[in-house]
C-alpha cells in the first residue's frame, strides 16, 4: 500500500482502484450483512425461546462495533465508552417517558445524544493520546454517571428509569417473547454494521487507520488529525447511542449500570476476544463472550471470573490462530494450515 493511497481527498473511484490494485481486502459490505441476516433468520427458527438473549447480544454487538472503530481502527484505547451508550439509553427513555413512545423518535434522539456527547467530549479528549486519553475517558464517564445519579428526577436515579412503554414498531408490539425486539435489534445491527464497514473501507476510514499507524506520517501528508479523529469519534458515538436507545426500548428500563465502568471494561474484553481492527471480530467477540457468560452463569455463577480471567490471559498470550486451532478437530486444523 503506497502512501499516496492514504490521501484524505475523496476520489472514490481512484482510491478504490488503488486499493484493489495494492491488494487491500475490501469485501463488499453487503456480503457480510447478508451473512448476518442469514444467521439472524436461522436463529429465529432454531432458538425461538431465547430471542430476548439474542436481541441483547445484537445490541451489545452494535456497541462493540462502535468501540472497535475507536479502539481498533483509530487506535485509541478507551474505558469510558459506556458513557455514550448510557446517554443514548437515557435519552430514549426520557423521550418515551415525557414525549412520545414512538420507537423511531426515541431511536433518533438516542443516536443523536450519543453523537453529541461524543462530539463535545471528543473536542477535549482527542487532544490526548495513550494513557492520558484512557484516564480522561474514565473521568468523563464517571462524571456523567454521577450526574445521572444526582439528577434522579430526570433519570430515576438508582431505581432506574422505568414505567414508560414503547408504541408498536410498524404495527408489531413489543411482546413477551421478545420477537419484535429481536427483529428490531438485528435489523439495526445489520444497518450499523453496513454503515461502519462502509466508513472503515472508505478513504476516510483508511486515513483514520493511517493515523493509528503513524501520526507523524499522516501529518506529513497534510491530514488534519484532530478533525479526522473527531469525525470518527462522533460517528462511533452515534452508533453507541443507537445501541443505548435499542436497549432502553427493548427492556423498557434504563439503569445507572448502563453508564458504568463495568460495561466499558466488558465491551473492551468482548472486542479483544473477537479481535480488534476487524468489524466481524467485534461481532464474534460479543457473541462468544455473552454466550459464555450466559452459560457459565447458568451452570455456576460463582466461578465466572476464573473463566473470563483465564480467557483474557490466554487470548493475549496465545495468538488467536493457535487458540482456534486447539478447539477444532484435526481435519480442520490441517485445512487451516494449508490456507
Amino acid at each position: 500500500m503506497t502512501t499516496a493511497d492514504l490521501s484524505t481527498t475523496s476520489n472514490p473511484s481512484a482510491a478504490n482502484a488503488a486499493m484493489a490494485s495494492s491488494g487491500v481486502r475490501n469485501t463488499a459490505a453487503w456480503k457480510h450483512c447478508a451473512v448476518i441476516a442469514l444467521l439472524g433468520v436461522v436463529a429465529w427458527f432454531v432458538f425461538p425461546n431465547q430471542l430476548s438473549l439474542l436481541a441483547r447480544i445484537a445490541i451489545m454487538a452494535i456497541l462493540v462495533i462502535s468501540l472497535d472503530l475507536v479502539v481498533g481502527y483509530a487506535g485509541l484505547a478507551t474505558l469510558g465508552h459506556a458513557a455514550l451508550y448510557g446517554v443514548g439509553a437515557y435519552a430514549a427513555g426520557i423521550v418515551a417517558t415525557r414525549l412520545t413512545g414512538d420507537p423511531f423518535v426515541g431511536l433518533a434522539v438516542g443516536a443523536l445524544a450519543g453523537a453529541i456527547t461524543a462530539g463535545i467530549s471528543g473536542l477535549l479528549l482527542l487532544r490526548y493520546e495513550g494513557f492520558t486519553f484512557l484516564m480522561l475517558t474514565v473521568a468523563v464517564a464517571q462524571i456523567i454517571q454521577n450526574l445521572a445519579s444526582k439528577f434522579s428526577d430526570l433519570t430515576g436515579g438508582s431505581d432506574g428509569l422505568s414505567g414508560f412503554s414503547i408504541k408498536p414498531l410498524l404495527g408489531f408490539s413489543f411482546d413477551m417473547q421478545g420477537r419484535t425486539g429481536y427483529v428490531y435489534a438485528v435489523t439495526l445491527l445489520i444497518v450499523c454494521y453496513y454503515a461502519a464497514k462502509r466508513v472503515t473501507d472508505s478513504p476516510f476510514g483508511l486515513s483514520v487507520q493511517g493515523i493509528h499507524q503513524s501520526r507523524p506520517r499522516m501529518r506529513a501528508l497534510g491530514a488534519n488529525i484532530n478533525a479526522q479523529l473527531w469525525k470518527l469519534y462522533t460517528f462511533a458515538g452515534l452508533l453507541a447511542g443507537i445501541a443505548g436507545a435499542l436497549s432502553a426500548q427493548t427492556n423498557a428500563i434504563v439503569g445507572l449500570d448502563s453508564l458504568s465502568f463495568e460495561i466499558s471494561a466488558e465491551i473492551l474484553v468482548m472486542l479483544i476476544l473477537g479481535g480488534a481492527g476487524r468489524l466481524y471480530g467485534a461481532l464474534l467477540g460479543t457473541v462468544i463472550f455473552m454466550l459464555l457468560h450466559h452459560t457459565a452463569a447458568t451452570i455456576n455463577p460463582y466461578h465466572w471470573l476464573f473463566v473470563i480471567g483465564g480467557m483474557l490471559m490466554l487470548v493475549v498470550l496465545v495468538p488467536r490462530e493457535k487458540l482456534i486451532g486447539w478447539m477444532l478437530p484435526k481435519a480442520w486444523r490441517n485445512k487451516m494450515r494449508r490456507a
Binding site: 473521568a139 444526582k150 471470573l305 490471559m313
Partner: protein, 289 residues
C-alpha cells in the same frame, strides 16, 4: 468555618496518604518500566489478606505481620514478573492492560474461593487503635501511622531511585535497554527487583489502608480506578508528583464529602480532568509547549 477547613485538610491528607502508598508502586512500574500493570491492586489485596490472616488466625504480632505481608507481596510480584509478565514488556499497551485485568480477575476469584466474600479485618495493636488528641480535634492513631509511613515511603523511594546505584541501573535500563545491557547491567535482575519493590509497596498500602479500604475479594478491582487516577495525574514514574496528586485529589474528595456529598465522586473526577489537562505530563512537570 475554620474548623471545617481544618477538618477537610486533616482528613483529606490522611485519605490521600493511603492512596499514595498504594499508588506509588504502580507509578514506579508504569513510569520507569513502561509496563501497565492493572494487577497492582491485587498485590495490595494480597498484602492485606496475608497480614489479616497472620494476625487474626495465627496470632502473629502486627508489625511482624506487616513485614511478612510486604515481603509476600514483593515475592509474588517478583515471581509473576519473572514467569509471565516479562513476556509482555514488548507488547502493546492494550495487551498489557487486558492481560493484567485477566490476572486480576483470577486473583479476585481465587481470594473469593479461599477466604469467602466477607471483609477481612486486621486487628490493630493497642498502640494504633483509639484516637489521638491533636488539640483541635481527635484523629485515629492509625491515620498518623499512615501519614508517617507515606512520608517515609516517598523519601525512601526517591532516595532509592535517585541516589543509589540500583536507581542508576534502573533509569539507565529504562532509557536505553541495549546500551545498559552492553554496559553490563543485569537487566532481568533490575526489572525484577523494581517490580518486586513496587509490589511490596502495594502490599504495604493494602495493610495500612485496610481501615479505609476494607479487604474483600473485589478490592483488587474496586480501587484500581482511584489508583490509576493518582498515577496519571501525578505523572508516571514521578514519586513526588504522585504524592502531590494523591494529597490534592484526596483533599478534593474529602471536601466534596463535607460540602456537596450529593454529587458523589463527580468533583474528584472533575479535578482529575482539570489537573490532567493543565499538566498532562505530571503535576510537577511543566507541560511542554
Amino acid at each position: 468555618m475554620l474548623t471545617m477547613l481544618a477538618n477537610i485538610l486533616i482528613d483529606g491528607i490522611a485519605y490521600g496518604m493511603v492512596l499514595f502508598i498504594i499508588a506509588v508502586g504502580l507509578s514506579i512500574t508504569l513510569g520507569l518500566m513502561r509496563f501497565i500493570n492493572l494487577a497492582h491492586g491485587a498485590f495490595a489485596m494480597t498484602g492485606g489478606y496475608v497480614a489479616a490472616w497472620l494476625v487474626r488466625v495465627q496470632g502473629v504480632n502486627f508489625w511482624l505481620a506487616l513485614l511478612a505481608a510486604v515481603l509476600t507481596a514483593a515475592l509474588i510480584g517478583a515471581l509473576l514478573e519473572a514467569l509471565v509478565l516479562r513476556r509482555l514488556y514488548r507488547r502493546s499497551e492494550l495487551d498489557q492492560v487486558l492481560f493484567t485485568i485477566g490476572l486480576t480477575f483470577v486473583f479476585v476469584a481465587t481470594t473469593n474461593l479461599l477466604f469467602g466474600a466477607e471483609v477481612q479485618l486486621i486487628p490493630l495493636p493497642l498502640l494504633l487503635s483509639g484516637p489521638v488528641d491533636l488539640g483541635v480535634r481527635t484523629l485515629p492513631a492509625q491515620r498518623i501511622l499512615v501519614l508517617l509511613a507515606g512520608l517515609a515511603v516517598s523519601l525512601f523511594s526517591w532516595w532509592a531511585i535517585n541516589r543509589t546505584r540500583f536507581g542508576v541501573w534502573l533509569r539507565a535500563t529504562v532509557d536505553n535497554r541495549e546500551a545498559a545491557a552492553a554496559l553490563g547491567i543485569h537487566i532481568r535482575w533490575v526489572f525484577g527487583l523494581a517490580f518486586a519493590f513496587g509490589a511490596g509497596l502495594a502490599g504495604l498500602g493494602g495493610v495500612l489502608g485496610a481501615e479505609l479500604m476494607p479487604l474483600e475479594p473485589y478490592y483488587a478491582l474496586k480501587y484500581m480506578v482511584l489508583v490509576l487516577v493518582v498515577v496519571s495525574v501525578g505523572g508516571m514514574g514521578n514519586i513526588f508528583g504522585s504524592l502531590a496528586a494523591a494529597l490534592l485529589l484526596g483533599t478534593v474528595d474529602t471536601a466534596s464529602k463535607y460540602l456537596a456529598s450529593g454529587y458523589g465522586s463527580l468533583f474528584f473526577f472533575a479535578a482529575m480532568m482539570l489537573l490532567l489537562v493543565w499538566r498532562p505530563n505530571g503535576l510537577l512537570i511543566k507541560a511542554k509547549a
